[in-house]
């Protein structure tokens, strides 16, 4: 389980490469390094259970959940780095900072996916968030980007304060930061009000970080204001990392106190899905629509936390994989369209199908997958999560979620209508499509289709 150390070291190497005038090599080095790290994760995954469990004084735990999520996060970062070659073409002077920050974001999310101690949870969340504050405010001459950075910073550090107070109260109750010791303590002792307040504060902080209602107000503003590529990072690596931490904390640590929090969480989930969906319906900006659909997707994933008693690890991983791949496809195309049309609204996509049929077809597949239409991956992701919820007797939640995913089809298909049915402006310039973007789209589409057609292979990994 040394992926975290290697990733941080790779980030530092990228910073040092600037000194030795190796700017052109930074992205290839980072991609090659990450692929090597992916290899070490795969080796860990194949290793014997007893060897991999006892690593790094239990600060990190290398169970199958953490290893598969590490693999997913590293793969998503590789795809994002491939996109960055072209996105940062005009900003060569800052490239080592950006790439190092992306690697630190990955390091933070790896710590969040595999923590075995609340100290690592805190450090992971902070490494992730501090890098993301910079990424959100990166476009420093643009007022909207400034505003996004500031809002994210204020909300994020407020949430960190809540998380810390929660950790302190849980420590005061149990006398330990280790998640297994805490779980054993809670299981054998009568819980007190101090523990409940502590868990409640940590829950609030994690709802903030995953962007779930009623703490989602920062999410659409930040996602809209940040530069397009950085929004893609925020919505894939950062969101999946935050959710992995959330799920891991409750499944590995607080499962004995889930009873009183189960009802609260169910209501939060219903609220998140509904609010995210209804707000996404009325949006005119593609980016903001994706941001709000990200809120409702966090809600679908949180159904898995409500129904923790079943075997939900598989479903959560499958859903995250489908969601991440579809979003990367969507953002790749959105970056291209934004660059040629200079508008983030749906009208930028008008008549795209006539000019670029393959791009339009790829975006359609990504949108159908996000909307949950079979045979694409998104459908099975929703199906597995919902079926676990039904098995655990949360029928009403599944009914709300299903109605909402039908509403979701409408706004996901809005962009498809714009591409196929509307006429483009006569002076619309054709898109410049770099080769590397086509490669990324090909990879993500292959994964969406393969995982959608053969879901049982992925489900067997955990």
């Amino acid at each position: 389980m040394n992926a975290l150390i290697y990733t941080s070291a790779l980030g530092i190497i990228c910073l040092l490469a600037e000194i030795f005038n190796l700017r052109k090599l930074i992205i290839p080095i980072a991609i090659a390094g990450l692929l090597a790290i992916l290899g070490t994760v795969a080796l860990d995954w194949n290793a014997d259970n007893s060897i991999r469990e006892a690593a790094l004084y239990n600060m990190l735990r290398a169970d199958s959940f953490s290893l598969t999520f590490s693999g997913l996060l590293i793969s998503l970062t590789v795809l994002l780095l491939m996109l960055s070659t072209d996105f940062y073409k005009t900003e060569q002077a800052k490239i080592s900072d950006y790439i190092a920050l992306i690697l630190f974001i990955l390091a933070g999310s790896l710590a969040m996916a595999s923590f075995g101690n609340l100290a690592m949870l805190f450090l992971g969340i902070e490494v992730l968030s501090i890098s993301l504050y910079i990424m959100a405010g990166a476009n420093k001459h643009d007022k909207r980007s400034n505003e996004a950075g500031m809002k994210y910073f204020l909300m994020g550090s407020f949430a960190s304060g809540l998380l810390l107070f929660g950790i302190a109260l849980v420590y005061g109750e149990t006398g330990s930061f280790d998640i297994v010791e805490i779980r054993d303590f809670i299981a054998t002792h009568q819980p007190t009000s101090m523990l409940y307040v502590g868990v409640g504060l940590m829950l609030m902080a994690l709802l903030f970080k995953t962007g779930a209602a009623p703490f989602h107000y920062w999410a659409p503003d930040v996602y809209e204001g940040a530069p397009m590529f950085h929004t893609a990072i925020l919505m894939t690596v950062a969101k999946i990392g935050a959710f992995a931490a959330f799920y891991r904390l409750f499944s590995a640590c607080f499962i004995p106190v889930m009873m009183p929090f189960g009802w609260v969480l169910s209501i939060v989930v219903a609220l998140t899905i509904t609010v995210g969906n209804l707000s996404a319906l009325v949006q005119d900006s593609f980016k903001r629509m994706l941001a709000l659909s990200g809120v409702s997707n966090a809600g679908y994933l949180m159904i898995a936390i409500v129904t923790l008693y079943g075997k939900t690890d598989n479903a959560v991983f499958y859903y995250s994989l489908a969601y991440g791949m579809a979003l990367i496809t969507a953002f790749t195309i959105a970056i291209l369209v934004y660059r040629s049309s200079e508008t983030e609204s749906f009208s930028g996509f008008n008549g795209l199908a006539k000019r670029h049929p393959f791009i339009a077809a790829s975006l359609t597949i990504a949108m159908l997958s996000l909307a949950g239409i079979p045979p694409f991956a998104g459908f099975f992701g929703k199906y597995y999560i919902f079926s676990e919820a039904v098995r655990n007797g949360r029928m009403w939640l599944v009914i709300i979620a299903t109605i909402n995913s039908i509403i979701g089809v409408y706004y996901y298909l809005k962009v498809v209508f714009a591409m196929y049915l509307k006429e483009s402006d006569s002076n619309a310039a054709p898109l410049q499509i770099p080769v590397i973007y086509s490669v990324v789209i090909a990879i993500t589409l292959t994964v969406i289709l393969a995982v959608g057609l053969f879901p049982s292979t992925v489900l067997g990994w955990l």
């Binding site: 100290a119 001459h141 505003e147 950075g149 810390l164 107070f165 109260l169 005061g172 006398g175 330990s176």
Partner: protein, 109 residues
Amino acid sequence: MSLLMNIFQEIPLHNYLFLSAILFCIGVFGVLLRRNAIIIFMSIELMFNAVNLLLVAFSTYYSDSGGQVFVFFIMAVAAAEVSVGLAILVTIYRNLHSVDIDELKSLKW
């Protein structure tokens, strides 16, 4: 010195808990009510320091060094966080000539 230590150890744990809860609430209300970004930063620091106090008190109570090590992590992270926050604030001040967060309203529905 040992006299002082004795006095500290006679203070019950509850008092530390109440003190840090009060400090934390002052921080929370500062973040929610004040509009000046610098004051909000100070309030966030106050929240972090309330947590530090609480962790040290618990750590002494359990005779476990883990809590005090955690405090060092929090201090380092808080310093990094505020330096990034101040950098963002400087860019905002250059564009808007104000540090009032109510001026930040270009992103809306």
